[in-house]
């Protein structure tokens, strides 16, 4: 195991943790979801690093692909009209009275 691969591992792991924090700290739903999909792709990379190609394949297709699609759909659904909670988060200017 060379120094380069060590640095790669540490950067990968660091990015994963940082992305996880970002996903949950992000106020806007869509941003959270997009960050999560990026997180999923990096996790797939981690599986490759850990010599787990089977899991990497499944993760890329399921974790990032289908879960991502489901999450995007849900985020879109919840951002629709009269959504005070998310709209307050998504639109910094207005409260919940946007479509009153």
């Amino acid at each position: 195991m060379t120094l380069t691969s060590w640095i790669f591992d540490i950067v990968l792991v660091g990015t994963l943790v940082w992305l996880a924090v970002r996903v949950l700290a992000e106020v806007k739903l869509f941003k959270s979801v997009v960050l999560y999909i990026a997180f999923g792709l990096l996790v797939a990379l981690a599986w490759v690093r850990l010599a787990a190609p089977d899991i990497a394949l499944a993760e890329a297709a399921i974790g990032a692909g289908i879960t991502g699609a489901l999450l995007l759909d849900a985020a879109g659904h919840m951002r629709g009209r009269s959504q005070p909670y998310a709209s307050a988060s998504d639109e910094p200017s207005a409260g919940g009275d946007m479509d009153a």
Partner: protein
């Protein structure tokens, strides 16, 4: 109008941080205390690989040694789909395509990618016997292809009748169950493949599972993405 705080109040956050910190320390200590180079069950799996009927150890574990886990896991998938259906509308033909007007770029992309993905899935299924791949991976690629198609408006014609839909969802599980019980008539235990036919049966089960996992993942997506208006209308009908 005050903005909504997207976080819990400070006391909750402090308590949560304390709890999480505690678990973090517990976990870290446990992981660092592990003996280096513990073999686990890997040697045992290696020894029995020959008898499993396949050459790829992960496939051997999933489809033979611990095939029962896999069977129950397909049941989890079926259950989740029934759960999603129970929340949405399962009337025949009421599922609108997710995109009302398909984006031309997206649909061109889907038309281009979907066949390739099917080929990839076929390859993964075939490779699973001796290399990374197998029903899960192949099924999820089919699922992803289906999601792509449904996003570009191609999925609707698939869901013709309610029975066809249910058959697609439960079919893979029922077939797996059928094989699991069927081999009992040959004198073995549940899921005990008769000597010599293990490989054939595993390939059969894997093929069924690939189709079924793919179909379930697509229907999970389509069913859960069914329009909110439908749900709302149904709520009102029930009042």
């Amino acid at each position: 109008m005050p903005r909504v705080t997207p976080m819990s109040p400070a006391p909750v956050r402090i308590a949560a941080a304390a709890i999480c910190g505690g678990f973090g320390v517990l976990l870290a200590r446990a992981l660092l205390a592990l003996p280096e180079d513990e073999a686990g069950l890997a040697p045992l799996i290696e020894t029995n690989l020959e008898a499993s009927g396949v050459k790829h150890p992960i496939t051997a574990v999933l489809l033979n040694f611990r095939g029962y886990d896999t069977m129950l896991e397909i049941a989890v998938l079926v259950l989740a789909t029934i759960g999603v259906l129970s929340l949405t509308v399962a009337r025949p033909g009421t599922w609108a395509p997710v995109a009302e007007q398909a984006d031309p770029v997206l649909s061109a992309l889907a038309r281009f990618l979907a066949p390739i993905m099917l080929v990839v899935a076929g390859y993964l299924l075939w490779a699973g016997e001796h290399a990374p791949g197998g029903a899960f991976q192949a099924g999820s690629v089919i699922g992803a292809a289906g999601v792509l198609l449904s996003l570009s408006g191609y999925a609707r014609p698939v869901w013709v009748t309610r029975f066809a839909l249910r058959a697609v969802i439960a079919g893979g599980f029922v077939a797996f169950l059928g094989v699991a019980i069927g081999v009992m008539s040959a004198g073995g235990a549940l899921l005990e493949y008769p000597a010599g036919s293990a490989k054939t049966l595993i390939v059969l089960v894997e093929t069924l599972l690939t189709i079924s996992i793919g179909a379930i993942l697509v229907s999970l997506f389509i069913a859960s993405a069914s329009p909110a208006e439908e749900l709302r209308r149904r709520m009102e009908e029930n009042r």
